[in-house]
Amino acid sequence: MMSTINQTQDELVEEFGLFEDWADKYEYLIDLGKKLLPMSESFKTEENVIKGCQSKVWLHAEKQGDLLVFQADSEAIIVKGMISMLIRVLSNHTPEEIMKADLYFIDQIGMSQHLAQTRSNGLVSMVKQMKNYAVAFHAIA
């Protein structure tokens, strides 16, 4: 059975809890970024771009059965690491679950600075866009 959004968040908090210092955390994050499933090139369209001031994020969403599935990519590896976690938490859930999700793990693993730098990396807009997709797919369901 699939984990709930909060179960996945708790798993991430636990994983990050194992690291003693920031460098280990970031090495793990960079590793997650490198392992992020490649996004299909056909989805890297102008429409799917979320422009940050310094790096771009691409986000694609589609409905598979009752579930919303996300694919995303970025030019910057740390942002990719963040994307990897956001996809792990939110992808493959129903639009309603995604709409209601409270993303507490980012703060708890000490990565909230990446969502505070609103202009630089597009992550805040990406989270907003994931929620928007959920709202849109929920409305047409």
Partner: protein, 409 residues
């Protein structure tokens, strides 16, 4: 006046430098974005608000007198600092961006028409591009671009041709490139522009902190800069203009201070500089800025330049030894700024990780997207130095950078 440059004492003058960031000693290499403030500036702000605060120019009471004197004293200090012919050609703005917009909306609107050309360079910051595009669109004038070569030097031959083959009304160029540090040959550029009857605006945002400016010797028509890049407070800028040009320009914003008499049948405007200083200005910060100018004057100028030059040379040498690293902008005449890219590494990742080591640099396009496009890169990592930086800090930076690259590889 000290005749020897005492780096230990100088660093003590900037209290912010002495701190730990993310558990490491702060290395502040983002001076092209903004410089830190000496204690005398911080004290002046405190003193102004604890003892002297009042609105200026019209109050008859003692505090108003003190605040007015303090505010105008900075103008007098600037006359000396820039060697302007008079104090009333010095207009306080909110910064370079505000100064350029002022010139675009007044001088530009009054003088540009269809077929006229405004020349900017490929090295410009967006703030010296967009205001010209806006006024060009309104007036039918056209913005054209002076090209830059591979190492970051402006193509002077192309500049000459652009000047003679167009009806150029204004040349707007930076003295020093914010993104890659090139020092432009502005004396020559101004002389060439004047030969075809064009006026010149020099954006001094990145030059004032590094060398002396003499607006008369350079024959500048307009010169703009920001106090916060010159060890002063944020929110203060200076616009210098030649008298006959400033007098011929219509006012910019309407309001209090900028008028002589107001009636519903018509209003007459105040004289320079007040014609362009509508509303209550940034009194406290202008006042405190004067103390930054005093502080700079107390430093031995040659030693400051030597210090920065040695930092630039050392950083360039150290960075050049890193595999896959390429310095963007290698003009022979440069200020202490090193912009670089690293094969296979996004600048943003470098910036995020360096911060964890306490090192503050700037990454991205540096508000100079046309220049990034010229070199076909998304952005750079930029380390920019001030005289209070040291070689030991460069060592910390290089060590941290190597660790970051290991983490990212």
């Amino acid at each position: 006046m000290v005749d020897k440059f005492d780096i230990v004492q100088v660093r003590k003058d900037f209290p912010i430098l002495d701190q730990q960031v993310n558990g490491a000693p702060l290395v502040y290499f983002d001076n092209a974005a903004t410089t830190q403030k000496p204690q005398v500036v911080i004290d002046a702000l405190n003193q102004y608000y604890t003892q002297d605060n009042a609105n200026i120019h019209r109050g008859l009471h003692t505090l108003a007198e003190r605040a007015t004197t303090g505010y105008e004293l900075t103008r007098t200090k600037l006359k000396d600092f820039l060697n302007t012919p008079s104090t009333d050609q010095i207009i306080f703005t909110a910064g370079v961006t505000a100064g350029i917009n002022l010139v675009a909306q007044t001088f530009g609107r009054a003088n540009f028409s269809k077929g006229d050309v405004i020349l900017v360079s490929n090295l410009e910051h967006h703030s010296n591009i967009v205001p010209w595009q806006m006024i060009a669109q309104e007036t039918g004038a056209e913005v054209q671009v002076i090209p830059v070569d591979e190492v970051g030097v402006l193509d002077m031959e192309a500049y000459g041709q652009l000047l003679t083959s167009n009806r150029v009304k204004l040349v707007a160029v930076n003295h020093v490139s914010n993104a890659i540090g090139t020092i432009n040959p502005i004396k020559q550029m101004i002389d060439m522009a004047h030969q075809v009857g064009a006026k010149v605006l020099i954006d001094g945002a990145q030059s004032v902190a590094h060398f002396d400016i003499d607006v008369q010797a350079l024959d500048m028509d307009f010169f703009v800069f920001s106090a916060h890049k010159l060890f002063g407070p944020t929110g203060v800028g200076v616009l210098y203009g030649k008298r006959e040009i400033l007098e011929s320009m219509p006012p910019y914003q309407g309001g209090g201070e900028m008028i002589k008499e107001v009636s519903f049948s018509g209003t007459t405007y105040n004289e320079l500089p007040y014609k362009f200083e509508a509303g209550t200005p940034n009194i406290a910060d202008v006042y405190a800025f004067g103390f930054a100018l005093d502080y700079l004057k107390s430093l031995p100028a040659d030693a400051v330049w030597e210090q920065e030059k040695s930092l630039l040379d050392y950083a360039t040498e150290q960075l050049s030894q890193i595999d896959g690293l390429r310095i963007v902008g290698q003009a022979p005449e440069k200020i202490a700024v090193v912009s670089f890219v690293i094969d296979g590494v996004h600048p943003q990742d470098v910036g995020v990780l360096l911060d964890k080591f306490g090192v503050a640099i700037r990454t991205g396009h540096h508000c100079a997207q046309p220049l990034m496009a010229r070199y076909d890169i998304v952005g750079t990592c930029r380390a920019s130095f001030a005289f209070y930086n040291t070689k030991e800090e460069i060592d910390l930076f290089i060590k941290a950078l190597k660790r970051c690259l290991m983490m990212l590889s």
